[in-house]
């Protein structure tokens, strides 16, 4: 996983609440066995008409937002399915940070596994960042994960909260599985104990 340290870039305003995962990437584009290449399907129905032509009024189809690396959204972003294709599509498009007043749990969690930073900030702060984002290419935001601040174009710094363990993994680009396997002995001990306590539990075995 790519580490996330600081990011300075164009932020795209997406002032829609309850953006669901079917909006982020419709189910018909999940028929892939790869993680990459999903950026072309990001926000498909918002971005393209029924004939596959770009909708000129959608923010990511306009300059400088085609190159956005940050997304400013509203409440309950990423609700719906568990598809990790949603953060994969954002990442493949080039978006590495989403700022919103709230996220759905599974989407929020999936972001961290892919080096995408979801930042929760109060609605009024998001509204101010949304205004910044509307100023376009001359108004880049900086996200500094180590210091836990978003720096606005006017230099004002907005602090954000993040789970320390997730921050550590993200800053260092660490693989979760590698981390957990450092505790393989504990897992083995737990399995032995549980096998004794719940000896009534049969294994799953087919055929």
């Amino acid at each position: 996983m790519q580490a996330f340290t600081t990011l300075t870039g164009v932020a795209a305003p997406l002032p829609i609440a309850d953006v669901d995962t079917d909006k982020i990437i419709p189910a018909r584009f999940l028929k892939t066995v790869k993680r990459s290449g999903l950026g072309v399907h990001l926000f498909y129905t918002l971005r393209f008409d029924k004939d596959g032509r770009e909708r000129p009024d959608f923010v990511l189809n306009t300059e400088p937002y085609r190159h956005a690396e940050i997304l400013i959204a509203l409440e309950n972003f990423g609700c719906g399915s568990s598809r990790e294709h949603a953060p994969w599509a954002l990442l493949d498009f080039g978006i590495r940070c989403v700022i919103a007043p709230g996220f759905a749990d599974i989407f929020y969690n999936n972001c961290f596994k892919n080096g995408v930073l979801p930042i929760r900030l109060p609605r009024d702060v998001c509204d101010r960042l949304m205004d910044d984002a509307r100023m376009g290419g001359n108004a880049r935001l900086t996200v500094d994960l180590a210091r836990q601040v978003v720096v606005r174009p006017n230099g004002e710094e907005v602090g954000f909260d993040i789970d320390p363990f997730r921050k550590h993994l993200l800053l260092n680009g660490l693989d979760d599985i590698g981390q957990t396997l450092q505790h393989a002995t504990s897992i083995g001990t737990y399995e032995t104990k549980r096998g004794t306590e719940q000896s009534w539990l049969p294994p799953v075995h087919v055929g």
Partner: protein
């Protein structure tokens, strides 16, 4: 000895699965059962392969194909190339990694959340995960069950654990006798209408109260299934005699003396008297009517006796704009009577409502009636076994004679990943769980409702108060 703090059902399951608590409070949580399907697993198996890792506990894992599979003519193979590749990829992966698998043409095949409980793979007190948000379904058997992304699928395959922090506890109590014609689906739609699609975010919802206890296991599964539509990580119902009777004799459940020992443990799981919840909500079942959604998320719901609401009555400008967008997409106008909205398609199926009880409810309405002119109605059983049982009861004949299509098991029209999908502009009365834009196919319009309500819409050709057909 100091008295132990009263704990909830969630607390008990959580505590008993903590392998290790890291200094910042993150837990390594042990996972008892991992359900795997074709859409969210290929990248996870590929990750294992690249890292030279194996599946730690194939004996705690079960794989099945459901999202992509066609629901007719499947012996002829799978026509859509990308779907076929995903299914073949899963078949290669389960063979390579030694994961138990129910093949497409076996009776055990079905929607992953139908087959878990049906096979006795999902049991009380367990932690269960799957790369699918509707994993919350298994909470009906008192398992802590939640959806995960593909990276976490890989994490569970490799370690049989997840890195997690505990969710908060929420209790939704439903009391009172359900009126005639009102079902578990109406209860959960009413709950989501009340608490909203983010009302459960960060929480595990425990459903309590005499109405929930009165539901059969299928109904409890319907309720828990839609927990995620309220934003909750999981839903739970305390185990009781109904739970134990349901599990007894199922293929993968403990048997004989082992079953008795299991029940003794399961009886310790219900929330303690005085356990505290971070959030609580109460509903009076006597006031719930058959429900139907009018918008493009599950909280946009109203009793069938109601009307399409007016965006001008929304709380703020943002909500007004959101509601207007919903009505534009749905092709509805404020003030329109819900019970007069015509439908093109009726879909009875999905992990929410494709169990035998659901098909019986649909057949009871269909018996002696005909699907309305111009309406296409599909009934898609949740598993090969549900299909066999329904056919043994003659339900397929009732439905076929009434003009419904009778299909083979799969996710079907719930999510437009297989040949069953809506055409742009088509309006569907659907027993599934999500009415998001494009969910059932690009441009498709979804009204969520119960199986009996769906069957009623099929025979009248418009959304209908099922109580008028009784």
């Amino acid at each position: 000895m100091p008295e132990a703090r009263p704990r909830t059902l969630f607390d008990k399951i959580w505590d008993s699965h903590v392998v290790e608590r890291l200094p910042d409070g993150t837990c390594i949580l042990y996972i008892d059962r991992h359900l795997v399907h074709e859409v969210t697993s290929p990248q996870a198996f590929e990750g294992l392969r690249l890292a030279g890792r194996r599946v730690r506990r194939p004996d705690c894992t079960i794989a099945v194909v459901d999202h992509n599979v066609p629901t007719e003519n499947r012996r002829n193979g799978i026509a859509e190339e990308e779907s076929r590749i995903q299914i073949e990829t899963l078949e290669r992966n389960v063979a390579e990694f030694g994961v138990p698998y129910f093949p497409l043409l076996s009776a055990q095949q079905g929607i992953v959340h139908i087959i878990g409980p049906e096979q006795g793979i999902s049991l009380p007190g367990m932690t269960i995960v799957c790369g699918d948000s509707h994993t919350s379904t298994h909470g009906a058997v008192a398992a802590l069950a939640f959806g995960i992304g593909t990276s976490e699928v890989e994490h569970v395959l490799a370690t049989q654990t997840l890195l997690q922090k505990p969710a908060k506890n929420m209790r939704v109590a439903v009391d009172g006798a359900l009126p005639v014609g009102v079902t578990a689906k109406d209860v959960v739609l009413a709950i989501i209408g009340r608490i909203g699609i983010a009302g459960g975010t960060g929480h595990v919802i425990e459903y309590t109260g005499e109405t929930i206890r009165g539901l059969d296991m299928a109904g409890r599964m319907t309720v828990c299934n839609m927990s995620i539509e309220a934003g909750a990580r999981a839903g739970l119902v305390a185990p009781d005699q109904k739970t134990f009777d349901y599990i007894k004799g199922r293929p993968f459940a403990p048997a004989g003396d082992a079953f008795d020992r299991a029940v003794a443990y399961w009886r310790t799981l219900p929330s303690d008297e005085g356990a505290s919840y971070d959030k609580q909500e109460k509903l009076d079942a006597r006031k719930i009517a058959p429900m139907v959604t009018w918008g493009t998320n599950p909280e946009a719901v109203a009793p069938i006796t109601g009307i399409v609401p007016d965006p001008r009555e929304a709380a703020d400008e943002a909500r007004q704009a959101q509601m207007q967008r919903m009505l534009d997409y749905m092709g509805l106008t404020p003030g329109q009577k819900l019970a007069e909205i015509p439908v093109d398609v009726v879909f009875i199926g999905s992990c929410t409502n494709s169990r035998l009880e659901d098909i019986r409810a649909a057949a009871a309405i269909a018996r002696g009636r005909r699907v309305a002119e111009g309406v296409r109605a599909l009934v898609v059983p949740g598993s090969g076994i549900v299909k066999e049982q329904a056919e043994a009861e003659g339900l397929d004949r009732i439905l076929l004679e009434a003009g419904f299509e009778w299909r083979e098991a799969g996710c079907s029209m719930c999510l437009g990943m297989n040949p069953d999908r809506l055409k742009p502009g088509q309006r569907c009365a659907s027993t599934s769980n999500r009415n998001f834009e494009g969910r059932q196919g690009p441009g498709g319009r979804t009204h969520l409702l119960s199986p009996a309500m769906a069957a009623a819409a099929a025979v009248t050709g418009h959304l209908t108060d099922v109580r008028e057909l009784a």
